[in-house]
Symmetry: C2
Subunit: 344 residues, 2 copies
DNA sequence: TAATTTTGCTAACACGTGTCAGCATAGAAG
DNA sequence: CTTCTATGCTGACACGTGTTAGCAAAATTA
């Protein structure tokens, strides 16, 4: 490994041409006439020497790093985002690789973000940023967005003109709710997690309500309960729902993590899932399939989210601005056992 | 954002000094006499302009990228490593940040690794590599190790002289086994997952056996079953174990994922955990706490593994070679309900 | 006063690449 | 034969920084 590094002039010497020609050949520069013979010689020399251009030198002269930063900025929902990070990151990477971009992993916690963003962007460590776990009260990110920095949100921030990739929450909630209706349920409750801090919760609630109305079912406030990000908050919410008269026969829960606690409450109260109560969750966390009974839920396309975010960001960096800047991805209903067989 | 980039000579001009002086001050170059007054002026100018040196230029001239690559190379055990990736990566990042290193996320699947390693190292995208999920049959990695490339394995590869960070599997298995013995069990079985491809399985089996012997208990081959990486293989293994006569009263399972399937088998056969059968797992995957009953298991210090790997790699890069190159981290027994109350 | 050392700073080079302007040579056109 | 154009290649500059060698002025010593 202490073997001297191979440079472009080594390739040039071996091929008997100038360094410039090597660059033209290896980068496939358009409009440059290179004879087939020379091109061949250069390619062979490069392969023989296992030449790879120095990334820093190339970046310095081109002004492009071809690196995008994946910045984590989560707060309480850590547990959820953690479960998806591997897939999202792989999506980001694979998409970026298509454009010969690399991915820098850079968590920047809210507390000690002191200058980290400047370092990343002004210091030219990355060409742009994918921001995971955006928060409305994040001053530093607001500044970046206003400065028109190349940023793509993984998620959503209301009243902000910024590119983003998210799941179509309204549509997804409609899928879940209408599935329960199709099963014959008419008393359908919902547990919404953290609608204030997390706009997705609100959107999912909206989808649920609209679907009920579209099917001529009334929206009963007693059948809507709120939770935070934790399982135990789901337990609490479910106990409240089950006091409603008449009892709901099905509940749509806007987060699988919350659903875990809710299911526990149901079973502790002596009810059976799905016979006494059908349940549909949201997220399809890896654990969902192992729950008892296995949870019917809305599958979050984590890999696709990562892919789309990187794709959008790179187009943004290259100033193909005319691009749709708010991507909404479709989800899928994964039917397992918790929603029960048809009631009809 | 189209605002012109700030360079070191901007700072120099504003402070009324040369670019060289700016560099000396900002990098705290030792042995350089700078008057307190000048130093102050430079620091203020830099802060006022929000100056951050261009990463590429600095890398080009110093020859150090100050980036380390986190390379994923997993195969079947994806599910397991995925559960820990977020924590490991955070550990890697935080440790690296201590040395002003960045972290590049670079999965390189076995199939299409065509030149990716060369690109990374020869192309000087990174100074070194942390390799997650090393496989003994990985030719490309063998070559890198023999070429003495700066690599740290996250895990272990037998008969290879290469730096690595792993958990003390023998010691951990002893903790698990002796805990069951302390609870009063004498018929203790074990399910080993994939000992052939995954050396950790073998080590855990060894720890189990030695502990039995140390306590004067015989090792009964009928009480040892093998599984792969999946839950369903655990189901199969457990069914086999429960046919032993007399039945084991406790089982140590070398993987939580496998334990999930095993527990399912136990309950399907009508036995109760932990009354009829106590269970201790290994890994402490996030899901373990939600199982029924919650799984007693060995906690894998994912964050610590990441931290240690980055620390080791950076020391290796800086040629502090005298460093211990095979780090073994301690684990912790997390007692929940599946191991039962004391039998004594 | 003259010689020497110390202090505080700077000019100039190097890192390895991409790329613009230009230069021979060969062929075509006049 | 001369002039022009296309072909195939190259010399030289630029990117922004770290760093070595060195220089003037001030301080110290002789």
């Amino acid at each position: 490994m202490t073997r001297r590094r191979v440079h472009s002039w080594d390739v040039a010497n071996l091929a008997g041409v100038s360094r410039t020609t090597v660059s033209f050949v290896l980068n496939n520069v358009p409009g440059m006439r290179i004879s087939a013979d020379t091109r061949q010689r250069v390619l062979e020399a490069a392969k023989q020497l296992d030449y790879h251009p120095d990334a820093s030198a190339r970046r310095l002269v081109t002004g492009k790093t071809s690196i995008l930063g994946y910045v984590e900025r989560q707060s309480p929902e850590h547990a959820l985002s953690d479960a998806f990070l591997p897939q999202v990151l792989r999506g980001v990477h694979d998409s970026a690789a298509t454009y010969n971009f690399e991915v820098l992993f850079a968590p920047i916690p809210l507390e000690l973000s002191k200058g980290r963003f400047s370092r990343l962007l002004q210091g030219h460590h990355v060409d742009g940023i994918i921001l995971s776990g955006p928060r409305s009260d994040d001053q530093e990110v607001h500044q970046l967005i206003e400065a028109n920095a190349p940023i793509v949100l993984q998620g959503h921030l209301p009243n902000m003109q910024v590119a983003s990739v998210d799941v179509d929450n309204v549509k997804s909630a409609k899928m879940a709710t209408s599935h329960l209706i199709r099963k014959g349920h008419t008393r359908i409750g919902m547990i919404v997690h953290s609608p204030e801090a997390f706009t997705a919760g609100e959107a999912r609630l909206q989808g649920y309500q609209e679907t009920l109305e579209e099917h001529g079912l009334s929206v009963d406030p007693d059948l809507i309960a709120f939770a935070s990000f934790t399982s135990s908050s789901g337990e609490h919410a479910m106990r409240k729902l089950l006091k409603a008269i008449p009892r709901p026969t099905a509940v749509f829960i806007s987060s699988d993590t919350v659903a875990i606690g809710a299911m526990q409450a149901v079973q502790e109260l002596g009810y059976h899932i799905p016979q006494d109560l059908a349940i549909v969750g949201f997220d399809d966390i890896p654990m969902s399939v192992y729950l008892k009974p296995p949870l019917t839920t809305i599958h979050l396309p984590a890999y696709g989210i990562g892919w789309a975010a990187a794709d959008l960001l790179i187009h943004l960096i290259d100033k193909d601005d005319a691009l749709e800047t708010n991507v909404l991805l479709d989800t899928e209903l994964v039917v397992r056992e918790s929603c029960g067989a048809s009631r009809i």
